[in-house]
């Protein structure tokens, strides 16, 4: 890998652009309107084409205005078709942005002799060449960096001004209205931000990276935090990291397979996707692993308590010892899980193992007595308050015994026999 000043600027421009996109993107994801970002970044194309055809030049201000106007028009048309035309939001978006995008493509084709922006460039941008596009008096800073940096600052400024308002209108529009904040003003402000960001970013990185940076880093941040402010910080950080990782992988990974390199904009989107997958799997609170871990630990807790219950009931019938296969049969859990649960119980001195037989210890018996008492009291309670077949109360009691708090227990009564006629053990006698 050879690194040059060009690569440094590519990463800087990518990071500025990605960070700029992730600010409106965060609000879009929270409002469940992320696809509005997708739609608007497509309709930037007709905006630019119209601005070009009207002014006959590539004046960035004219293009910005053209794109923002068409972007707002997109948001407006989507709403009109949705509310007046009885079309659901997704379909209405799909209709508006495809038609406008097609219109943009036709305009570009018609003016193809005169326009040096071709539709392909719209999709991938030209971040690799961005360094060469410098103003003579730009102090060696590429134009792309200035444009995207300015947009990032503008977005940060708008966020600073309307932080609270955007937050309230995102989470509780009705309350916002009662506080004198106009939700539809905030909506169109956000749409303006989205369109302006999309147009300033698209020339350097292409519309696809814009869409990826609007949606993917904020969605990743959403899986990592529950705080509004933190979500912005995380989204911006992930966006910057995606830009850096994306470019480095674009110039390294393909070389392992004999290619010279690949599209940086595409690789940045893929890097953002990789960060998303990491969070999806490994987020401490929302990740698949964390969730599975929680589920398993609850399951093991229940299993341990079930084992104690089984051992206690066997003792009641005069059988003091048990082998794991008997437990597997009685509870219906996988034998591996049963062994793990037994191991856990042994650790807390609730059961002990002699050769291959397991028995309750004194502490284990105390715990088991409490559990069985709870179980049978629940059976009594259920039988009394929700009369049903006596055999069915067992199932319900089996679940409830694991989640009964002392307050609940004190209301369950003090019966001596359960509905099946068995003794309710009294743990205070131990």
């Amino acid at each position: 890998m050879t690194w040059s000043i060009i690569d440094t600027w590519i990463v800087i421009i990518g990071a500025l652009c990605a960070a700029g996109c992730s600010i409106p993107g965060t609000v879009l994801v929270l409002r469940r309107m992320s696809l509005m970002g997708d739609a608007i970044s497509h309709t930037v194309l007709p905006g630019i084409a119209i601005a070009f055809l009207l002014t006959g030049s590539r004046d960035p201000m004219a293009m910005l205005i053209g794109a923002v106007v068409v972007g707002l028009l997109t948001a407006f048309l989507v709403q009109v078709i949705q509310s007046l035309g009885n079309v659901e939001a997704g379909a209405s978006m799909g209709i508006v942005f495809t038609v406008l995008f097609a219109f943009g493509l036709v305009l570009m084709r018609q003016a193809v002799d005169h326009v040096d922006i071709d539709p392909d460039c719209v999709l991938y941008g030209s971040i690799e060449l961005a360094w060469f596009d410098q103003d003579p008096d730009g102090f060696g800073i590429p134009r792309g960096a200035i444009v995207n940096g300015a947009m990032l600052l503008a977005n940060l400024f708008v966020m600073f001004l309307f932080y609270k308002e955007l937050k309230i209108t995102s989470f509780d529009p009705a309350f916002a209205k009662s506080q004198g904040i106009h939700p539809s003003f905030m909506h169109y402000l956000l749409m303006t931000m989205t369109a302006a960001t999309a147009v300033s970013a698209f020339e350097t990185v292409g519309s696809i990276l814009v869409v990826a940076m609007f949606i993917v880093p904020p969605a990743t941040a959403y899986l990592l935090t529950n705080r509004y402010g933190m979500m912005f910080v995380l989204a911006i950080s992930i966006a910057i990291a995606s830009a850096a990782v994306g470019h480095v992988s674009a110039i390294t990974i393909p070389t392992w397979f004999g290619f010279s390199g690949t599209s940086t904009a595409g690789a940045m989107a893929v890097a953002a996707g990789a960060f998303f997958i990491l969070a999806w799997v490994g987020s401490p609170s929302q990740g698949i692993i964390a969730k599975q871990w929680q589920r398993n630990s609850v399951r093991l807790l229940v299993l341990r308590e079930d084992i104690l219950g089984v051992l206690w009931r066997l003792e009641e019938r005069g059988k003091k010892t048990v082998v794991p296969t008997q437990l597997t049969e009685a509870i219906g859990a996988h034998s591996l899980l049963v062994h793990i649960a037994l191991f856990g119980l042994q650790k807390t001195n609730a059961v002990e193992k002699t050769t291959m037989y397991w028995t309750l210890t004194k502490e284990g018996r105390e715990k088991a007595t409490k559990l069985v008492r709870m179980h049978r009291l629940w059976e009594v309670y259920l039988d009394e308050h929700y009369p049903q077949d006596v055999h069915q109360v067992h199932q319900a009691a089996e679940r409830l015994e694991h989640v009964t708090t002392p307050e609940m227990q004190s209301k369950l009564g003090d019966a001596k026999k359960d509905p099946h006629g068995r003794r309710v053990p009294d743990d205070t006698l131990l």
Partner: protein
């Protein structure tokens, strides 16, 4: 870089009559192929799009079509690795289909296992897979054998590259989709409108859903070559969305959507053959968009025009009933059968001009007549209608006072809104409840109440 041409330079050359005849009579081989292909595509996408739209999955199809790009590039690279030139359409489409399915599974996975909603799931899959596609495409162009240059044609579509065998594949797929739709339309309809009821009835809803999404993937894949993957979703949604404005019956909607899709395909292909520098895909989508505007405005089912018309009609009926009640109550108050415009202005908050206008309408409908010396009088027909309205109004007022405990001075407005829509059944129930046979006396002062 900066160009000085004005917009007038980009003007279109109008086709000559001879050209038009040539294109419409399908004399050229190329036109024939493209027209056949896109008409088949339009029909198939109209049918499948109808269910997609009703199932509210419009943008899932968008993600699906973007997700096909890495599939195309990967299939190309695999084929080149196995020594072919990587141009076999069937292979490319297979790759596209596989990645389309991966995209849909990704969306379902994100939606099921995280707290992100549909929109974010669609956006993530769409942009990340498309980015991956761009990376693979760039790498594919470096392969020594085979030419990957044609691959980017799938992004915006390149109908001119179609050959007869491609069009025949499209026609075959379309025929297959027509057959599947005919076979499954009942089950899919159930899936769209009442999934849970379907499941209770023993319908394999999951399987039907999978088959539907597979059909969407197939339509998307055959749309790639002509319309391109960015706009493929338009072919699915727009014809179906148009059809929705013309009918409420699913069979008619299916036929209308297929017809609109087919027609747009044909017109688009013809237009792009006639006018230079007209890309086929975008033109087809623009024509679909035109049909959408027409349907949105003029469609008899929920169209803008028809809705506005019904609203205006309702408003006219309501204002007529208002003036009738005003006339009747003035007559009741003054114990005479005729009144002046000023009498009405006095008891209502309407301007004199508004009252004059309303009275002219009453005269036209023969519910009131003008007498000499600028007096007005209700006709027999008008009197009957007016007494019915007044009766409804007062019955409701009495009902509100008796049963809803609302102060007599507050009931007028509520009754004002309900008097126009009280049905005969409700009126007879009110009569029974309030033991009223005649027009009750107004519970509040009539002259100053409004």
């Amino acid at each position: 870089m900066i160009v000085s041409h004005s917009i007038s330079d980009a003007s279109m050359a109008l086709p000559s009559l001879e050209q038009i005849v040539r294109v419409f009579s399908l004399e050229d081989y190329n036109t024939r192929v493209v027209v056949l292909g896109v008409m088949a595509l339009g029909t198939a996408s109209g049918l499948i799009g109808t269910f997609l739209l009703l199932r509210k999955r419009a943008l899932t199809a968008d993600a699906l079509s973007h997700a096909t790009l890495p599939g195309i590039a990967a299939a190309f690279m695999v084929m080149v690795a196995f020594g072919s030139d990587g141009k076999a359409l069937a292979g490319l489409l297979l790759g596209a289909f596989v990645f389309g399915c991966i995209g849909v599974l990704g969306i379902l996975g994100i939606r099921k296992t995280t707290r992100l909603k549909d929109d974010a799931a669609i956006g993530i899959v769409l942009s990340v897979l498309f980015g991956l596609g761009l990376c693979l495409l760039r790498m594919a162009t470096e392969l020594p054998t085979g030419s990957a240059a044609g691959l980017s044609g799938f992004i915006f579509g390149k109908a001119s590259s179609m050959v007869a065998s491609d069009a025949l594949i499209m026609a075959g797929v379309a025929l297959g989709i027509v057959i599947v739709t005919i076979a499954l339309h009942k089950e899919w309809t159930l899936l769209c409108f009442d999934e849970k009821f379907g499941a209770v009835q023993g319908c394999p809803t999951l399987l039907l859903d999978v088959v539907l999404m597979a059909m969407v993937a197939i339509v998307t894949v055959i749309a790639l070559q002509s319309v391109g993957l960015v706009l493929a979703v338009a072919m699915l949604i727009i014809p179906a969305a148009c059809a929705r404005y013309w009918t409420t019956k699913i069979i008619t909607m299916l036929m209308a959507a297929a017809l609109i899709g087919c027609l747009s395909g044909w017109l688009g292909a013809v237009a792009s053959a006639l006018v230079p520098r007209m890309p086929t895909g975008p033109v087809i989508v623009l024509i679909c968009g035109f049909w959408f505007i027409v349907s949105f405005v003029f469609g008899p089912n929920n169209g803008l025009f028809i809705r506005q018309l019904t609203r205006i009609r309702l408003q006219r009926r309501i204002s007529l009933q208002h003036i009738l009640r005003a006339m009747w109550e003035v007559c009741e108050d003054t114990q005479s059968s005729s009144f002046t415009i000023e009498d009405i202005v006095y008891v209502r908050s309407w301007s004199k001009r508004a009252v004059e206008k309303l009275l002219r309408r009453c005269a036209k409908q023969h519910v009131a007549t003008r007498e000499p010396n600028s007096m007005w009088r209700l006709t027999e027909k008008g009197s009957a209608e007016a007494s019915r309205v007044v009766r409804n109004h007062r019955l409701w007022e009495v009902y509100l006072i008796t049963y809803a405990d609302i102060a007599p001075s507050h009931v007028d407005r509520d009754a004002d809104m309900i008097e126009h829509v009280l049905g005969r059944n409700l009126v007879s129930q009110l009569e029974e409840l309030l033991k009223a046979t005649d027009i009750p006396k107004s519970p509040h002062a009539v002259g100053t109440s409004t």
